[in-house]
Symmetry: C2
Subunit: 274 residues, 2 copies
């Protein structure tokens, strides 16, 4: 379908088209499309922009990733489809960062598609295509990780992760930074640094923050983070946007009905053939 840039939802429709194409290539699974839709609703209520609270979380994430011995970012189909370029930027900004393919619905060909998308975006080394370790507490296909990546990681950045995996990583004592638009998801609830923001905006902000930290004379460290407050801020923003929407709704622009256009009858197919 042809999209007009003047459509009120143009940006969000573009992302949807990207995901639809990525699904056709096999990169994104159907469940990924539904999950994207859920995120869209949350982003709508967050005003489709990075909140000051999310920006704070993104700065802490940058500091943790720079301070970590073995930082890793885990990349699934949706992340590869819409944010491969941002992952490549992140890998440039965080020199020790490992980039690992990590699929909920894992097949060999899909793992290679994620790898290819990351390569094309400029990530030189992609782990996890052939998993070499497993993390306990998960069904086998979702537990497979790379010995050089998530297996040894001390800080894991998990954008768009599912709750089971985030919990399993946490139970292993790893520090988890999540990116998830739903502040009530299990992933957001268990993460040490829950970033409630759209994935591309979040990664870009982490890159900006990392570049700034590297310029500063103070070495990066695992600064404390108040995750309860971060989640509370996100809920408060959603609450405020809803209230605003409700106020706007009180005087919605009604369509004029003064001169209704009349429907036009056309020759039916049954009539076209004599």
């Amino acid at each position: 379908m042809q999209l007009s840039p003047r459509h009120p939802r143009y940006a969000s429709l573009r992302v949807r088209e990207t995901l639809a194409r990525a699904h056709e290539s096999g990169l994104v699974v159907l469940e990924g499309l539904i999950a994207h839709g859920r995120g869209e609703t949350f982003d709508y209520f967050l005003g489709e922009r990075t909140t000051p609270s999310a920006r704070k979380a993104e700065r802490v994430a940058a500091e943790w990733l720079l301070a970590a011995e073995h930082p890793v970012v885990s990349v699934n189909g949706n992340v590869a489809a819409i944010a491969a370029g941002e992952v490549a930027e992140l890998a440039r900004a965080i020199p020790r960062l490992a980039v690992e393919v990590n699929l909920f619905h894992r097949t060999g060909p899909r793992a290679r598609l994620v790898e290819a998308a990351l390569w094309r975006a400029g990530v030189p080394r992609v782990l996890g295509v052939r998993p070499t370790a497993i993390i306990p507490g998960l069904p086998s296909d979702r537990a497979r990780v790379d010995r050089r990546g998530i297996f040894v990681a001390d800080v894991c950045l998990v954008p768009l992760e599912d709750g089971d995996r985030a919990e399993a990583l946490q139970a292993l004592g790893k520090r988890v930074i999540s990116v998830d638009l739903n502040p009530l998801s299990r992933t957001s609830q268990v993460a040490d640094v829950p970033i409630v923001d759209e994935v591309r905006r979040a990664l870009r902000e982490i890159v900006r923050a990392a570049d700034a930290i590297k310029q500063s004379p103070n070495p990066p460290r695992l600064v404390p983070f108040d995750r309860y407050r971060a989640l509370g801020d996100a809920l408060a923003t959603i609450d405020r946007e809803l209230t605003r929407a409700a106020v706007r709704r009180r005087r919605p622009p009604r369509l004029r009905r003064a001169s209704p256009r009349r429907p036009r009858e056309t020759a039916g197919r049954s009539r076209r053939t004599p």
Copy 2:
């Protein structure tokens, strides 16, 4: 993937699987999957149940459909995939109701798939497979309707409709009853009776109400409806659920970290081959 009925999101995962299968058959388009995800978030905040306010709207919808001269329900791919049975029940409960296929992304084969799904569910007569009229104000492929259905309808029930079409129907002077989980969508905003509820729950409730009205001595009529209030109620419910969620969030169950499970190293594929 095998789903356990004990999974906290079992019911919603089942619907997702149904949609995924319906997509594989060509009935549901990718955009329909994303739209479903958006609805899931709203339903979650509505408590995944019919609110008293929605029930009121559903009763008015039943009365309007029974009072109409030419009532019609418009059925798209998502509705056919998850609620064909409920549409069939509705057609039984509202004797004059026309059932019309109505696709945003229209192709002949898809229209026939919707028709087949409705037939299988027990709808004897399905209009709109070969459109015979157009409604003005829309791109041509989305404007095509049936001369015996939406074209002459005075009351249109449009579950999961897009905003442009809902507006176009309204501009033609037709009364529009929408079913949409998003109280802020353009469809909900322009509908005369916006039902903010999940489509299967909504249709079942309309059927129940229609059966009750038919038992009553008073003839059905186009009773007035306060649509502003209905939308305000939905927003208030979402707001309340968010506040509740925020309160629960203050004391989330933390995972114990006392004895973290240790990850287990496995032989990599490269090692398995000697």
